[in-house]
C-alpha cells in the first residue's frame, strides 16, 4: 500500500515545479531537464492534461521522458495551480494560452501529448501554430455524432457549481462515486484517490474544461492537421469513440491499448514512455502517408497588415473592395485577388493580410457577389474583366499589377492577362477551370437561379450541396460562413458560373504570355487543370494534393510563401 502511495503522491526527484506568466496570469508547470540538455537532439515534449485534473498525473512520464529531452507538464489555466481565465474559455483560448506558455519558456518546435481535453487543445494548437508543433500523441481522441455532442452538453449541467454547498459534504461523496466508474476495477485506490483530489482543485470553475472540450468535435479539426499523429486508444470508456477518429487522420495511426484504462498515464508511465519514444524518435519514413517533399519558402519578417474595406465607383455601380498595404508606401508590385463564385473577397482576407505587408494587396467583390452590386445585365467573363480594369486603375493607377485568381477568378485573371498585357505582369491561379464545349453546355444547363419556395427547399438544397463540397476540408463554421456569403448574390448568384461555362478557354489560354503559377489542390478540378497545361506558354505548377476547399485561408502562410516566391523572383 505504501508503494502505491509513494508512486502516486511523491514527486520524482528530477521533476521540478515553476511558474511563468501566460495569457491568463501565472501558469504552473512540472519540468524535467536531462543532465546534458545541450546534447539532446530531441525536441521538448509537452503534456496537456484532461479536465478536470492537473499536470500532476504526468509526473512519472515527465520524469521518464526527461532523461533524454526536456519534458514539461503544464497546468491548463484554471486547473492545478494555474490562474483561471476571466470567463469560460474556448479550446482556441486554451491553445492560445499554451502558445503564450511556449513563448514564455522560449521553446521553438515541440512535440505534444494531449490527454482527453488536452488532446483537443493540442489539435487546436497544431492548427493555430503549425510551425511550432512537430509530432502529436493523443491519449483518447473521441469522435462523436452531433446528437451525442449535444447530449454531452446537457450532462455538463451537473458539473456546474451549486448555489449551496451541503454542510455534510455529500457533494464530494456524490462526485467520488460518480467518477469512480471511469476507472478499471483493478485500478489502485491510491491512483483514483490522487486523481480525484486533483480534479477538485478547479473548484467552482472546474466545468470550464469540459465546457470548452464538448464544443469541439475532433472530426471537424483532425483532417486539417498535417503533423504526424499517434492516437493511443486505451480501454478508458472512450474506446469506440476514439476508434472512430482514425478515418479522420490525414497523417497518423491508432494504437489499441486494451490493457490500459483511465489513469494509465500515471500507472503505466514506463511502458508509455517506450511507446512515445518509438513514435517521436522514429524515422520520418515509417510508412505513413506524407505530404510531398516540398517546403514553402519562409515568410518574411514582416507583420501582417489589417484589411480595410471600402466602396468606390466604377462603370457598373459601386464596387466593394478589401485591401491591405504596408505602413509605408509599398515596395512590391500590387496584387489583385479575384475570388471564386458564388462567394466573395472575404475568403482572401488572410492572404491580403500577409501579402499586404510589403505590397498593396486588393480584392474586389466581383460585381454581383459579396457587397458589390450586380451589373445591370448578366455579364460575360470579358465584361467582368473589363470592370476589373476600372478597379485596377482606381486602386493601383496604370499598373502593371500581378493577379491571383481562384476558380471563376482564375478565368477572369486569364482573360485579363491575355487582353490587357500592359496591365498584368504575372498571373497566379488556383486551378485552371478548363472545360470543353460539351462539358460547358452540360454545366450551363444546370446553372440557373432557384426561386425561393415557402418550404425552404432552395435553402436546404444549397446548404447540403455546400456541406458536401466543403465538409471534407472545412469546419462547419467555415461551411456556414461560405454559405452566408454565397447567399449575397440573391437572384444573381449564378451569374459567375454562367460566365465561366459560357467562356471558351481554347482561344484565350495560348495568348497568355505572362509567367503563370498554377496551384492545384484536391478540389475536383485537377483533371481540368491538367488538360489546360499544353495550351499555356509559360506555366509552372505546384501540386497540393493534401489540400481542398478553404486551404488558402487555412494555410495562408504557406500559400503566401509560394506566391511571394513566384511574384518576387
Amino acid at each position: 500500500m505504501m508503494g502505491d502511495a509513494a508512486l502516486y503522491w511523491r514527486k520524482p526527484d528530477n521533476v521540478k515545479r515553476a511558474y511563468v506568466d501566460g495569457r491568463y496570469g501565472q501558469m504552473h508547470y512540472r519540468i524535467a531537464v536531462p543532465p546534458h540538455e545541450d546534447s539532446s537532439d530531441h525536441p521538448p515534449i509537452l503534456f496537456f492534461h484532461q479536465s478536470p485534473s492537473s499536470g500532476r498525473p504526468f509526473e512519472g512520464l515527465v520524469s521518464e521522458m526527461g532523461r533524454d529531452r526536456v519534458a514539461i507538464a503544464v497546468d491548463t489555466p484554471g486547473f492545478g495551480d494555474s490562474d483561471p481565465p476571466p470567463a469560460p474559455p474556448t479550446i482556441a483560448d486554451y491553445a492560445a494560452a499554451m502558445t503564450s506558455f511556449i513563448e514564455a519558456l522560449g521553446l521553438e518546435k515541440v512535440d505534444i501529448l494531449g490527454d482527453h481535453t488536452g488532446a483537443k487543445v493540442a489539435v487546436e494548437l497544431a492548427l493555430q501554430q503549425p510551425d511550432r508543433v512537430r509530432r502529436l500523441v493523443f491519449n483518447a481522441c473521441p469522435v462523436y455524432s452531433p446528437e451525442k455532442m449535444a447530449e454531452m452538453m446537457t450532462h455538463l449541467e451537473a458539473e456546474r457549481p451549486k448555489d449551496v454547498i451541503p454542510d455534510d459534504g455529500s457533494h464530494i461523496l456524490h462526485r467520488w462515486k460518480g467518477t469512480k466508474g471511469w476507472y478499471k476495477d483493478d485500478a489502485p485506490m491510491e491512483l483514483y484517490n490522487r486523481d480525484f483530489c486533483e480534479s477538485l482543485r478547479g473548484l467552482d470553475l472546474a466545468w470550464y474544461g469540459h465546457n470548452a472540450a464538448f464544443a469541439v468535435n475532433h472530426a471537424d479539426n483532425l483532417p486539417h492537421v498535417s503533423q504526424p499523429i499517434l492516437i493511443l486508444c486505451p480501454d478508458d470508456g472512450l474506446w469506440e469513440a476514439t476508434k472512430a477518429a482514425e478515418p479522420h487522420l490525414r497523417n497518423g495511426r491508432l494504437l489499441e491499448l486494451p490493457q490500459f484504462g483511465m489513469g494509465a498515464v500515471s500507472q503505466h508511465s514506463i511502458e508509455l514512455a517506450k511507446i512515445l519514444r518509438g513514435f517521436l524518435d522514429g524515422p520520418a519514413d515509417d510508412g505513413m502517408p506524407r505530404e510531398p517533399a516540398r517546403s514553402a519558402p519562409a515568410a518574411p519578417e514582416l507583420p501582417p497588415r489589417p484589411v480595410v474595406r471600402r466602396f468606390f465607383d466604377t462603370r457598373e455601380k459601386q464596387v466593394h473592395l478589401r485591401s491591405a498595404e504596408p505602413a509605408q508606401s509599398g515596395r512590391g508590385v500590387p496584387v489583385l485577388c479575384l475570388h471564386m463564385s458564388p462567394v466573395s473577397s472575404r475568403n482572401f482576407e488572410p492572404i491580403l493580410e500577409r501579402l499586404g505587408s510589403d505590397r498593396l494587396a486588393f480584392a474586389p467583390d466581383i460585381p454581383g457577389f459579396g457587397e458589390s452590386e450586380a451589373p445591370s445585365r448578366r455579364p460575360s467573363i470579358a465584361d467582368l474583366a473589363d470592370i476589373m480594369t476600372d478597379v485596377i486603375r482606381a486602386v493601383a493607377g496604370n499598373g502593371p499589377v500581378d493577379v491571383l485568381g481562384d476558380h471563376t477568378g482564375a478565368v477572369i485573371a486569364i482573360d485579363l492577362a491575355a487582353r490587357h498585357p500592359d496591365l498584368i505582369r504575372k498571373v497566379a491561379v488556383n486551378t485552371v477551370p478548363y472545360f470543353n464545349a460539351e462539358e460547358r453546355a452540360a454545366r450551363l444547363a444546370h446553372t440557373h437561379y432557384v426561386e425561393p419556395s415557402p418550404d425552404a427547399k432552395h435553402l436546404a438544397d444549397k446548404w447540403s450541396g455546400m456541406v458536401k463540397a466543403y465538409k471534407p476540408s472545412m469546419s462547419m463554421r467555415e461551411v456556414e460562413r461560405n454559405f452566408v456569403e454565397a447567399l449575397r448574390g440573391g437572384p444573381f448568384g449564378h451569374w459567375g458560373h454562367h460566365a465561366v461555362f459560357s467562356y471558351d478557354m481554347d482561344e484565350i489560354l495560348p495568348k497568355v504570355a505572362q509567367p503563370m503559377l498554377i496551384l492545384r489542390p484536391n478540389d475536383g478540378l485537377e483533371e481540368n487543370t491538367q488538360r489546360a497545361l499544353p495550351l499555356i506558354q509559360n506555366a509552372k505548377m505546384i501540386d497540393l494534393p493534401q489540400y481542398a476547399y478553404g486551404y488558402m485561408e487555412q494555410h495562408a502562410d504557406e500559400i503566401a510563401g509560394y506566391l511571394r516566391e513566384f511574384l518576387d523572383v
Binding site: P146, A150, M153, V308, R309, R310, F311, K317, Q318, H320, E371, E373, A374, E451, P452, S453, P454, A456, H458, L459, A460, W463, S464, V467, K471, M476, R477, E480, R481, F483, V484, L487, R488, G490, P491, F492
Partner: protein, 273 residues
Amino acid sequence: MHAVWSSLRAIKRGYAPCRFGQVHYRIAVPKAASRTPLVLFHQTPTSGRCYEGLIAELGRDRVAVAMDTPGFGSSDPPPHPPTIQDYAAVAGELFDELDLGSVDVMGDHTGAKIALETAIQRPDRVRRVVLNAAPVYSDEELETLKRQDVAVENFGEAGEHILARWNWAMKQRAPETPLEAVLLEVAESLRAGANVWHGHHAAFGYQHRDGLPKVMQPLLVLHAKDDLWVPTARARPLISNGRMVDLPQWGREMLLLRYREVAEIVRGFLDEA
C-alpha cells in the same frame, strides 16, 4: 424582376472608422437638402439593407443614412457582447465622421433602443426621435425573453439553424410580402454568424421604461400591429414630449412595403413647426 435585390440608384454605401473597426452605412443625398439629416437604426438581426426604400424616400429632401449595427450587415463586430450604449456610442461616432451636424434619429425594434439611447447620450446633437415599437415589459416577461435569447445556436450538417431562420421569417411574413424579400431578410440575418444573439441580448438589457422618461427631445412612437403591439401600448403614459400613432392596419412588413406612407408620417412629425 428581383426588384428587392437591386439597390436603388439613389443609395450609396460606405464605411466609417469606429471603436470596433469599420461601421457600414447606406446613404441617400438629395440634390438640395433642406431638412435635418435623419439616421436610421435597423432591427436585429437584419441590416440596413432592408430599409433601402425608406432611406431613398426620405432622402428626397434630406440626407438619410441607415447604419449597420456593429456585428450585423457589413459592420465589424465588437470583441464582446455589446450593450445598447455601445451601439449608440458607435452611432455618435458615425454622426461625427459624416459631419452631419444636428440629426434626427429613427429606429426599428432593437434599433429603436439605439435611437433612444443616442438621444440620451447626445442631447446636443439629436433633435427629434422616431421609434417603431417601444415595448414596455414586466419583470416576468423580461426573464422569459432573456432566457429565450441567450441560447447560442448550435448546428449540424442538416443546417437546422438556417431552416429555422427561414421558417421564423415565413411565420412573420405578411401575405403580400414577396418571397424574395423574405430571402433577403434571411440572407442578411445569417451574416452575424455565431454572434447573432448579441443584438437581442443588448436589447433585453435595455428597457424603454427606464429610457423613455429621460428623453427630452420630441418623440414619435409608431405603433404597428406587429409582434410588439401589446407591450408597445404600455409605453403611452411614459411619453411626456410627443405622441404615439396607432397603425393597426400594418404589421411587420410596414417599413419594407409601406415605406412611402411611413415616410409621410415621419416627415409630418420631423418637419412640423
